[in-house]
């Protein structure tokens, strides 16, 4: 089931429900039967240079955002990205359902490492993957 977007993400370009032009990614508190925490079809305006495909930076947006939310769900903490490595295995198409999954790989003090994948929802083909290292922060940067 969808869970509420945290207060510090209300205007987030990726997941903010009050952002007028954002992607409004909705993230579930538990994985679905495919292991995905979210499903999204990317709109035309996030196109990259390959015709019909998303910009690689937007793919990184999805992975980064998903990892942040899964840290919040599973560790009850705000995580800030320190490093993220994204691998694009195939162009990520626009206007097709994408399944997004994330698993936390390790927690060492305030350091969290998580791995995410972007797949075609129907075919389960892996299009992109990423490993993010996040640091737990005590307070929202905006406060």
């Amino acid at each position: 089931m969808n869970r509420p977007t945290p207060p510090n993400s209300q205007v987030c370009f990726i997941c903010g429900p009050t952002h007028p032009d954002g992607l409004r990614l909705q993230i579930n508190s538990t994985p679905d039967s495919d292991g995905d925490r979210a499903v999204i079809a990317l709109p035309d305006f996030v196109a990259g240079r390959v015709v019909g495909s998303a910009h690689p930076g937007i793919v990184t947006c999805l992975l980064d955002d998903m990892i942040s939310h899964v840290i919040l769900d599973e560790l009850k903490a705000n995580g800030m990205t320190v490093n993220i490595k994204t691998s694009i295995h195939q162009p990520v198409p626009l206007n097709r359902a994408l399944g997004l999954s994330v698993n936390i790989e390790s927690v060492n003090g305030r350091k969290v490492v998580a791995m995410g994948e972007v797949r075609l929802k129907d075919e389960r083909t892996i299009l992109a993957s990423g490993v993010g290292m996040f640091i737990i922060i005590k307070e929202n940067l905006a406060s």
């Binding site: 993400s9 987030c12 240079r49 690689p56 930076g57 990184t60 800030m80 490093n83």
Partner: protein, 139 residues
């Protein structure tokens, strides 16, 4: 024809993408440089650019570095982005983006890109970006 004309719908640089970043690059000393401010639309947390938007900036600088500084490539795709975030990137403040080619390995080109706060040249984020490129038929 400029790259922005070649990819008019590109989220990062396309002239016709009204909801995109509309980056413009110039060349300076074997690198590409872009000066701009991010709109608040590209927030992650309030006042801070989304990490993926920073990734978009650093990726785009790499492609422009490859394409503008070297005439042998026709097109290419990102295969790896490795980003380090040093400090949160503010929105609505002047930023400076740099990119240059680090090395070529046949059809894989490795670039370095940097994002600074322009006011004091504080390094906000950096990346190594790998592109798989296709050569022009006459190159």
């Amino acid at each position: 024809m400029s790259l922005a004309d070649e990819y008019p719908r590109c989220f990062a640089c396309g002239n016709d993408n009204q909801r995109g970043l509309k980056l413009k690059f110039e060349t300076k000393d074997n690198m590409v440089v872009s000066r701009f401010s991010l709109d608040e639309d590209f927030n992650g947390w309030p006042g801070v650019a989304h990490g993926g938007i920073v990734a978009t900036l650093l990726d785009e600088a790499a492609y422009y570095a490859i394409s503008i500084l070297n005439d042998e490539w026709e097109t290419g795709v990102t295969i790896n982005l490795n980003l380090d975030f040093k400090f949160p990137t503010p929105v609505a403040q002047p930023l400076l983006l740099q990119g240059w080619v680090e090395k070529n390995r046949r059809t894989i080109v490795y670039c370095q890109t940097r994002l600074y706060r322009e006011q004091d040249m504080k390094l906000l984020a950096q990346a190594q970006v790998s592109y798989l490129m296709r050569k022009k038929s006459n190159a």
